[in-house]
Amino acid sequence: MSKTDTMEVVERRGGILVHVAELRHVREFNVLLALLLVGFLISLATPYFLTTNNLMGVFRAFSLTAIMSIGMVMVIITGGIDLSVGSAMGLASLVTALAFEAGFPTGAAISAGLATGLVFGLTNGLLITAIGLPPFIATLGTLSIGRGLMYMITHGVPVTPETPEIFSVLGQGYIGPVPVPVVIMLVLMIVFAVIMLRTRFGRHVYATGGNEHAARLSGVKVNRVKLTVYVLSSTIASIAGIIGFSRYLSAEPASGFGSELDVIAAAAIGGASLAGGVGSVTGAVIGAALVGVIANGVVLLNINTYAQQAITGGVILIAVSLDVLRNRLSGGGN
């Protein structure tokens, strides 16, 4: 969506909405409605959907995508894109596994994984800010390099070291009925939602994406903001990687491949505009949830496996269209 489009949408909405914060709010609200609607329809069709076990399973299943989308949406709000999240995730999980294999204790192994994400993000950030590469190219390059490294290290063979019991809590544990990955997702969501809405850094992220030039001339250190969001994105992706490894205790050589599209989709479904300046952390998580619920629904409903993808695509289109049309109607466009 181009900037002018966004503006028009905003104009159209008129009535109810007065300011950005509310706008964000309502965007999320719309996707949330779509999510609830889809969930409701599925629960009508199958009794297996609305069980604690299934819901928690669904939550856990989309939690990794959701976690990555938290970092992604910040990048997208600055007007950038991070294609390399899947590689950052996969590489972090691999490095963690290798660290365990090399006999590192849990803390050190996790740190190694996080450090991988950090280095990855720094590389992206520096390519974009210091050299001036377009984000798409820079992160496409590191995406390839990351994948390549994983193949070079593993030759396609998963790494499955012995790990201490305590480590598997991260991916397999529960707090009450809630799986630990879901708890981590919620904590990250709240933390970053607060950062984006209540801190100077968050404000600068929105300003950078809204009008980079004006932001720079107002004293925003645009390059530092960008560097930070790319570092955050990769680091958050590495958290997802570590959780994923803890869950499966197997670092797959192809893990995370192709996930960039899912992650960007979550952010976009949650209302982020690829033109920058617009989006929210909670929206991205809800976007991931919508996709996750649909994916669960098509299996629960025993829909022909060959048709699943088409149905997923269709439902997403309908859900987001409803959102868009609702806005148009409520705004009474010119």
Partner: protein, 500 residues
């Protein structure tokens, strides 16, 4: 004169704002009709309704040549003979000047391919009529804002229209270009083309208009033949105050202490295009208001951008005797420099953010504890400024996109003044703001100078420069061609230095 267009009972409601309230307007063929009113009075909105950008609230009607019409969009309006120069630039930066002028009606050769040669030649012809020396093949993105404005004007007059609306066409033009435009307008009206002329510059209004309509708070307060209107009466109608009480006496607060000193400032790695700055030297004293004058493209903005770190320079800049290297705006800001840019939409504002967020962007740390923004305080300060600058907005949470042009300009001024810099550079600060607000800005600048701030005013409005500056520096083609004290700076002397 015969009636061309009539608007009856036009109202327009935006969320939280009644922008127009039962407005009537009649426009004759060949008439120059001035539209005046303070910022946010509804002038632009009325024109946007006339050209189909907005739809009026139900109940109103528009008649063109006696027939009621519903105007769907600007293209439709154009087919009815109505074209417009918008207040905010609507040019496409990645196309050339000629391509912009002929966008959507490009000439085609016999093969169906573009006839670029004809397009350039036609563009050159229009530009020559406007006495503009711009290469039709130049990318519009590289032009200064004044030049972009001229491109828009060129485009509008190249339409075969019966009514041409000009919404503050001269806000970013200087004296010379304005004069050319005035002549152009007179010629058009001589050819029977009606012109709606919106401006906050009273001189222009009295110079060219035949009739004038004054809007206030979205309602028509007066329509008069210009002969029956005086300056005093117009100002009274517009802002409800006497002209004489608006502008106070100029008091100089300049000390002898030099705060900023610039030596041999040149554009780093100058290229062959355009008027590029070279060897500019000047001093700015504490508490001084230093005016910069020049024609469009003289390089004033470029000098300011170098000082502010947004353009690479060579030469020396010293502040309080210390040599400084300014490579980016945040360094400049840390050194206590503030910069009200001339291009408010492109460089001044984040249009998708609200008034509060735009206002505080320059000084957000004032409201931060551990990076957390204390929103209540932020909002309170913002409200103070909305009041003191009389910014017309439904509230702090309104997107600046929805503010009228002049009110957007006020937000840009507010965000810099609130930061309290030591050196405040204002580039065309009163661009598009009404006479009342202009007086307030002048007073504000004077007050700031009294507090010891040093101010550089870049303006193409010669009377403004003369009214508020302690000293005037004139640039021509990137070089300093004059430095005049307040007493030396007469209209003639300054113009002489600017045009050579």
């Amino acid at each position: 004169m015969s009636l061309f267009l009539e608007m009856h009972n036009i109202s327009k409601t935006f969320p939280g704002v009644k922008a127009l309230d039962h407005v009537d307007l009649k426009l004759n063929r060949g008439e120059v009709h001035a539209l005046a009113g303070e910022n946010g009075a509804g002038k632009s909105t009325l024109m946007k309704i006339m050209t189909g950008v907005y739809r009026a609230d139900p109940g109103g009607s528009i008649l063109v040549e006696g027939e009621e019409v519903t105007i769907h969009d600007p293209v439709h309006a154009r087919s009815l003979g109505i074209s417009i120069i918008y207040q905010e630039l609507a040019v496409v930066n990645n196309l050339t000047v000629a391509e912009n002028i002929f966008l959507a009606r490009e000439p085609r050769g016999p093969t169906g391919l573009l006839d670029t040669r004809k397009m350039k030649a036609d563009a050159r012809a229009v530009l020559e009529e406007l006495e503009m020396d711009i290469d039709p093949g130049a990318m519009v993105g590289r032009l200064s804002i004044g030049q972009k404005q001229m491109v828009e004007i060129a485009r509008a007059i190249s339409y075969e229209s019966k009514l041409l609306i000009m919404d503050e066409p001269t806000a970013s033009l200087s004296h010379h270009e304005t004069q050319t435009l005035m002549r152009m307008v007179k010629r058009l009206s001589g050819q029977g083309i009606g012109v709606v002329y919106i401006s906050h510059r009273l001189d222009e209004i009295f110079e060219i208009s035949d009739r004038i309509t004054v809007l206030r708070d979205g309602a028509t307060v007066d329509t008069q033949l210009i002969e029956n209107m005086t300056r005093d009466r117009l100002v009274l109608k517009m802002v409800d105050r006497e002209l004489s009480e608006l502008f106070g006496e100029h008091l100089s607060h300049a000390s002898d202490e030099v705060l900023l000193s610039v030596r041999d400032l040149s554009l780093k790695r100058p290229t062959t295009q355009g008027a590029r700055v070279s060897d500019v030297s000047f001093d700015l004293r504490k508490g001084e208001v230093l005016g910069f004058f020049g024609l469009v493209g003289a390089g004033r903005t470029e000098v300011m951008e170098m000082i502010f770190g947004s353009r690479p320079y060579s030469g020396e800049i010293t502040i309080e005797g210390k040599k400084v290297e300014i490579h980016d705006p945040s360094t400049a800001i840390d050194l206590g420099i503030g910069f009200v840019t001339e291009d408010r939409q492109g460089q001044g504002l984040v249009l998708g953010m609200n008034v509060r967020e735009n206002f505080s962007l320059t000084h957000l740390s004032d409201y931060c504890s551990f990076d957390f923004v204390r929103r209540r305080e932020e909002k309170a300060r913002c409200v103070d400024y909305i009041k003191s600058l009389a910014i017309k907005t439904p509230g702090t949470e309104e997107k600046v996109l929805n503010l009228s042009g002049g009110n957007q300009q006020k937000v840009v001024i507010a965000k810099w003044v609130a930061r309290r810099p030591r050196i405040l550079i204002v580039d065309e600060p009163t661009r598009g703001i009404d006479i009342g607000a202009k007086a307030e800005v002048h007073t504000l600048l004077n007050d700031l100078a009294a507090e010891g701030l040093s101010i550089i005013v870049v303006s193409s409005d010669l009377p403004e420069i003369l009214a508020i500056s302690d000293r005037v520096i004139v640039l021509r083609e990137g070089k300093v061609t004059g430095e005049l004290t307040r007493s030396e700076a007469t209209q003639e002397a300054v113009m002489h230095a600017a045009t050579g």
